[in-house]
C-alpha cells in the first residue's frame, strides 16, 4: 500500500516533468524520420524503420532512465520533501522501492507509446503484417529490461551522490556494461594471472547490458529488423538475470539510504 502510494506519486511527478515529453517527442520524430531514411535502401525500408525505431526506443529510454533516475532520491533530499515523508510510518526500503516502481511504470508507458509509434509507422508504410509486428515485442521487452537495470543503477547512485556524478557513474557503467564480453576476452588473452582474475571478477560484478542485446549470437535489434523469432528460454534466463541484478542494486540502495542522516 505505502510502496504503491509512493510509486503513484513518483509517476505523477514524472508525467508532470517537461523533460519527459521532450524526450518522447524526439524519439517519435526519430521513428518517423526512419521512413525517409528507409527510402535510401531499396527493398530494406522495413528493416531500417525497425532498426532505427528500436534504437530510438533504447537510446531515449536510457536517457529518460538516467536523467529522471539520478534525481529521484536526490531531489527529495535536496528539497527536504523527504523529511515529512520519512516521519510517516514508511520504511526507507519502501521509499526506495516506491521510487523505483514509479519510474519503472513511467518507462513502461513511454516504451509502450514509442512502440505504438513504431508499429503505426510500419503499418502506415505497409510492412510485414500483424505477425511480424508481434515479433518486435520480445525485442522491446529486452530493451525494457535493460532500462529497468539502468534505472536501478541511477537510483542507487542518487542515494548518496549528486545528480551530475550519478549521471556520470550510471553512464560509465552503462557503457562498460555493453563491453562486458570484451572485458572477459581481454582477461583470457592476457598472460598476467592478476589481470585475468581482475577482468573475470569485473565481468561478473558489473552489470552486463550486452545480455539484453545479444541472445545466443544474434543481435536482438538486428534479428527483430528481419522479424526473426527470439529464443524464449534465453529471454527467460536474461529476465532472471535482470531481476536478480536489479534486486541486488535496490537492496544496496535501500541499505545506503537507511544509513543516511537528513540534516
Amino acid at each position: 500500500m505505502r510502496i504503491l502510494a509512493i510509486a503513484r506519486n513518483t509517476f505523477r511527478e514524472n508525467i508532470r516533468d517537461k523533460i519527459l515529453y521532450n524526450l518522447i517527442l524526439f524519439a517519435l520524430i526519430m521513428i518517423l524520420s526512419s521512413v525517409a531514411l528507409g527510402q535510401l535502401t531499396l527493398g530494406h525500408e522495413d528493416k531500417v524503420i525497425v532498426d532505427l525505431g528500436l534504437t530510438s526506443i533504447s537510446v531515449f529510454g536510457t536517457l529518460i532512465a538516467i536523467f529522471i533516475g539520478i534525481s529521484l532520491v536526490h531531489k527529495e533530499i535536496e528539497k527536504r520533501t523527504v523529511h515529512a515523508l520519512l516521519a510517516k510510518p514508511v520504511h526507507r526500503a519502501e521509499f526506495i522501492a516506491g521510487k523505483f516502481l514509479g519510474l519503472l511504470f513511467t518507462l513502461f508507458i513511454n516504451t509502450a507509446i514509442m512502440t505504438a509509434g513504431l508499429i503505426l509507422t510500419l503499418m502506415w508504410h505497409g510492412g510485414a503484417g500483424l505477425q511480424g509486428y508481434l515479433r518486435l515485442l520480445p525485442a522491446v521487452y529486452l530493451i525494457f529490461l535493460s532500462l529497468s537495470l539502468t534505472t536501478a543503477l541511477a537510483l542507487l547512485f542518487s542515494t548518496f551522490s549528486t545528480p551530475a556524478l550519478s549521471a556520470l557513474f550510471t553512464f560509465f557503467l552503462w557503457v562498460i556494461g555493453h563491453f562486458n564480453y570484451d572485458l572477459r576476452e581481454f582477461g583470457r588473452l592476457t598472460k598476467s594471472g592478476a589481470l585475468q582474475s581482475l577482468c573475470t571478477t569485473l565481468y561478473y560484478l558489473l552489470p552486463n547490458f550486452a545480455n539484453f542485446e545479444l541472445i545466443g549470437s544474434q543481435n536482438v535489434i538486428q534479428g527483430a529488423a528481419y522479424y526473426r523469432p527470439i529464443d524464449a528460454a534465453a529471454v527467460g534466463w536474461v529476465s532472471v538475470y535482470g531481476a536478480l541484478y536489479g534486486a541486488i542494486l535496490l537492496g544496496i540502495a535501500a541499505a545506503v539510504f537507511s544509513r543516511r542522516d537528513f540534516k
Partner: protein
C-alpha cells in the same frame, strides 16, 4: 507513561573534508513530556531544537542516548502512525495540489476512500485552505505552505504532534489560526511538542517549556518559573487624555511619552498602575492597554550567554 521520554540524547556531526572533527549539536538531553501537554521547546537558532526533533522523527541517528514516543523506541516505524510532524521551513511536492498532497499522505497512513476525501476536505477547512485545495503548491505563499504543512501533520489524527517553528512565515492572522489549531488539539487531549524561538507564541500556548542553548538543556518547567520572570514595570497606553489629565499623570509615572494621540506611560509597580488608571479614567481618557514589561527570551539568552544572569 510519558508521551515523550528522552534520555541522554547526544548528537555529534562530523565536519571537515575527511569528516573527522565532531561538532556537538546536542549534548546529553534528558526530557519528559506528559500526555496531553502542550510543551514548548525553546532556544535561539542553533540551540539544538531541530536536531532533537529530527532525531525523534528518525531523520537523524543519535550518537548516544535514546528516546521513546508513546512508550515505543523512536526507530519503530509503526509508532510513526500515531504521531504527526511539521518540519521547519517545510517544502512539499510543488507539482501537487494541496488536496493531492494530503491524499497522498493519507494513503501512506493506510486511510482509504471515501473517508480519506472527507478527512482531506475537513483538514483544508481547518487550516483555512478550503478554497485553495485545487491549486498547485508551487503557486502557494510561504504562509499557505505552512498551513498545508500543519494539515499534513494531522491527517492521521495523531496522539502526539511535533511542530518545528509552526509560526514561521505566517502573518498575524495565520499565527492566530495556528494558535487555534494547537488549542483545539489540546482540548482533544493531543500532546503537542512545539519548537519556537518566539516567546509570545509559547506563552500563549504552552503548559511547560524546556529552554535549550548550544545543544544543552538550560532549564525546564513552567515558563514563569524558569525565566525567573520578574516584572520590570508596566506600560500603560491611553488615548483621549486632556492637558490637565496629562499634567496629573506625569507626576504619577516614571516616564511619559506621546505617540500621536496615544500616551505611553511607564510605571514601576502595581499600585502606581492602579493610580494611573483611576486618574486617567476619571479625567475622561480611554484605557487602551496595560502591559507588564518583562525580559524577553532574547534578553534571557543574552544574559545567560554573557553571564550577567537575570
Amino acid at each position: 507513561m510519558p508521551a515523550i521520554e528522552i534520555k541522554g540524547l547526544t548528537k555529534d556531526f562530523l565536519v571537515g573534508f575527511w569528516k573527522k572533527h565532531p561538532v556537538r549539536a546536542l549534548d546529553n538531553l534528558d526530557l519528559s513530556v506528559e500526555k496531553g501537554e502542550v510543551f514548548g521547546f525553546l532556544g535561539p537558532n542553533g540551540a539544538g531544537k531541530t536536531t532533537t526533533l529530527k532525531i525523534l522523527m528518525s531523520l537523524l541517528r543519535p550518537t548516544s542516548g535514546s528516546a521513546r514516543i508513546l512508550g515505543e523506541p523512536i526507530d519503530v516505524v509503526s509508532m510513526h502512525a500515531r504521531i504527526g510532524y511539521l518540519p521547519e521551513n517545510p517544502y512539499f511536492y510543488d507539482y501537487l495540489t494541496a488536496r493531492e498532497l494530503l491524499t497522498y499522505v493519507g494513503r501512506l497512513f493506510g486511510i482509504r476512500q471515501p473517508a480519506l476525501n472527507r478527512k482531506v476536505s475537513q483538514l483544508l477547512e481547518n487550516v483555512g485552505l478550503g478554497q485553495s485545495g485545487g491549486i498547485q503548491l508551487r503557486k502557494f505563499s510561504k504562509g499557505m505552505i505552512q498551513r498545508v504543512g500543519i494539515a499534513q501533520a494531522l491527517v492521521n489524527d495523531p496522539e502526539v504532534v511535533f511542530l518545528d517553528e509552526p509560526m514561521s512565515g505566517l502573518d498575524p492572522l495565520g499565527r492566530r489560526e495556528v494558535r487555534q489549531v494547537v488549542a483545539s488539539l489540546k482540548s482533544r487531549g493531543v500532546t503537542v511538542f512545539f519548537s519556537s524561538h518566539i516567546l509570545p507564541d509559547v506563552e500563549a500556548l504552552c503548559d511547560r517549556v524546556a529552554i535549550m542553548n548550544r545543544g544543552r538543556l538550560q532549564a525546564t518547567g513552567a515558563l514563569n518559573e524558569i525565566l525567573k520572570v520578574r516584572i520590570e514595570g508596566h506600560e500603560v497606553i491611553l488615548t483621549g487624555a486632556g492637558p490637565r489629565t496629562i499634567e496629573a499623570l506625569s507626576g504619577m509615572c516614571d516616564q511619559i511619552t506621546a505617540l500621536g494621540e496615544r500616551l505611553v506611560l511607564r510605571a514601576g509597580n502595581s499600585a502606581q498602575v492602579a493610580a494611573i488608571v483611576e486618574c486617567a479614567l476619571s479625567g475622561g481618557a480611554d484605557l487602551l492597554s496595560v502591559i507588564p514589561i518583562r525580559p524577553s527570551l532574547e534578553d534571557y539568552f543574552f544574559e545567560e550567554i554573557t553571564g550577567t544572569g537575570l
